[in-house]
């Protein structure tokens, strides 16, 4: 009988992943994202990556379907995947003469 050593091994869970982040049309890669890191820290790194100078809480990371990735979860709990594309953007841009 042929040996299948890989068959009984547990699925591989990397401790780090890379995320693709798109901001204002430009896509960059965020490397070495720890699976146990909080999404808040990923957001902070993404803001720095694009030199976004806004307040961090005014910005968010959004999945392709438009849902926001909660910042108070770990990368693992948020089920983010290696190579996944996220969109960094302002949560509620607005303006007007009313102060």
């Amino acid at each position: 009988m042929e040996d299948h050593p890989q068959k009984n091994q547990p699925p591989h869970h990397p401790s780090q992943i890379a995320l693709n982040i798109a901001y204002n049309g430009v896509t960059k890669t965020l490397d070495h994202v720890e699976m146990h890191a909080q999404v808040q820290s990923v957001l902070a790194r993404a803001l720095a990556l694009f030199n976004v100078t806004d307040r961090p809480h005014a910005q968010g990371l959004f999945r392709e379907d438009g849902t926001e990735v909660p910042v108070n979860q770990s990368v693992q709990d948020a089920a983010l995947l290696d190579g996944q594309l996220l969109y960094l953007r302002a949560r509620t841009p607005q303006g007007g003469a009313h102060c």
Binding site: G25, T27, A58, R89, P93, G96
Partner: protein, 147 residues
């Protein structure tokens, strides 16, 4: 220096007049390709709510817009919006731009862009390297106004 495609300024004003109808604010995002980011050739009018003193793009539209920017390799270079009376950068304008990176421009158009508008009545702000909004000189920042 942003260079506006011929007719872009006129179409921006027409959009403001049609959407705002002299009663509400309106906003347009000026876009360019990533290959030629200073050549502004798009004026994108969002689905938005508006009052005489406020505007806000709809969330679904906003997300789809950001997805489309990445897919089409385009970028927002400036936001342009109207005020009912004089043009200035309000606290809301300062705090909630669509893009917040150094060099981003925000152009404010007075009087709901009614006929008779003069370039000298516009107000232009730019995000500086420290992330702060500063007034910017229009002739040094944008060319191609054609109306």
């Amino acid at each position: 220096m942003l260079r506006l495609r011929r007719g872009l300024w006129s179409s921006t004003l027409e959009q403001f007049r049609a959407c705002g109808a002299g009663r509400r604010e309106c906003v347009v995002y000026w876009t360019a390709s990533l290959d030629h980011p200073d050549d502004v050739d798009g004026a994108v009018h969002p689905q938005h709510t508006a009052t005489p003193s406020h505007y806000e793009p709809q969330q679904r539209w906003l997300h789809e817009f950001f997805v489309s920017l990445a897919r089409t390799q385009r970028t927002v270079r400036a936001q342009v919006h109207t005020h009912r009376m004089r043009a200035f950068h309000s606290h809301t304008d300062d705090r909630y731009p669509i893009v917040h990176t150094p060099g981003f421009l925000s152009l404010v158009v007075p009087n709901f862009a009614r006929i008779g508008l003069r370039i000298s009545g516009l107000y232009l702000a730019r995000i500086n390297q420290d992330g702060q909004w500063c007034e910017a000189a229009i002739p040094d920042s944008i060319c191609g106004f054609d109306a």
